[in-house]
């Protein structure tokens, strides 16, 4: 009888440990997925990708420079302006107001992009 109860508790403990591990793993997957889906714009080969992005108000967008040369992110209506971004540097801006935001690279003005905030 005693060994029976002991085995039950042992199984319960093992099951609990497995369940906890699964929960923790699941939370980290969800967090990674959330991070992956946070909007970002890659700067590479003298272009912004995606060139046009539509997001909800309150969204923070991150530009990441993957290019070999520095770039900047400057809005045409002066709402936001990054410092010079070297390779792997990032710039983030939170769009709280709805509207269309055109931006460009002040070093390479042919690089243009658009953010549509709904």
């Amino acid at each position: 009888m005693k060994s029976y109860i002991r085995n039950v508790f042992l199984c319960a403990g093992l099951l609990g440990a497995v369940a906890s591990a699964a929960m923790i793993h699941g939370v980290s997957i969800a967090r990674a997925a959330e991070e992956k889906t946070a909007p970002s714009i890659a700067i590479d080969n003298f272009s912004f990708t995606p060139k046009e992005l539509t997001v909800a108000a309150g969204t923070t967008i991150t530009w990441v420079n993957r290019d070999d040369v520095p770039h900047t992110v400057v809005s045409t209506d002066k709402k936001f302006k990054s410092k010079a971004l070297d390779t792997d540097d990032q710039f983030s801006f939170t769009f709280t107001d709805t509207g269309t935001y055109n931006y460009f690279c002040s070093v390479h003005p042919i690089m243009v992009g658009k953010i549509i905030v709904k």
Partner: protein, 152 residues
């Protein structure tokens, strides 16, 4: 404002490139004037280029260098983008300053005797070589900063 040479460069960068090449050619023409013993014309030509160059330095080149290169120069000198800019900066500054020194020595009595030199040809040829080196490195900047040619 977009450039007009078909590269990602700005209008200012494109215009500066053209202006610098034209001024380089003007300096060569000025050297030929001296060879032809037309010293007054030679002086006017060289002085004009020397002073005119202060405008693109102040309006295009120095602001660009200060914003894009200077903040990271100490830690990123090994990167092509920063190295070519640093080389051009050193050569260009040397060429401009030596040119101004030659101008002061040749055209004025402002400088004390110890600062004055007598081997005109030598110093002027050094100046021309420095300026051409600065021009070439400046074209190098344009290629590295604004084209993908060096990536191929």
């Amino acid at each position: 404002m977009k450039g007009f040479l078909g590269t990602p460069a700005s209008f200012g960068a494109d215009l500066n490139l053209i202006v610098q090449v034209v001024m380089g050619l003007a300096l060569i023409a000025g050297a030929l004037l001296a060879r032809a013993k037309r010293y007054a014309a030679h002086g006017v030509c060289m002085t004009t280029v020397l002073f005119l160059n202060l405008v693109p330095i102040g309006v295009v080149m120095w602001p660009s260098f200060e914003q894009l290169v200077l903040p990271r120069l100490a830690t990123h000198l090994q990167k092509r983008y920063y190295m070519v800019a640093a080389i051009h900066g050193v050569l260009g500054a040397a060429a401009e300053l030596l040119g101004l020194l030659i101008l002061l020595v040749a055209g004025t009595n402002i400088l004390p005797e110890t600062w004055r030199f007598s081997r005109w040809k030598l110093w002027m040829r050094v100046e021309l070589a420095l300026w051409m080196s600065a021009l070439l490195s400046g074209i190098g900047i344009y290629v590295v900063w604004y084209t993908a040619l060096w990536r191929q």
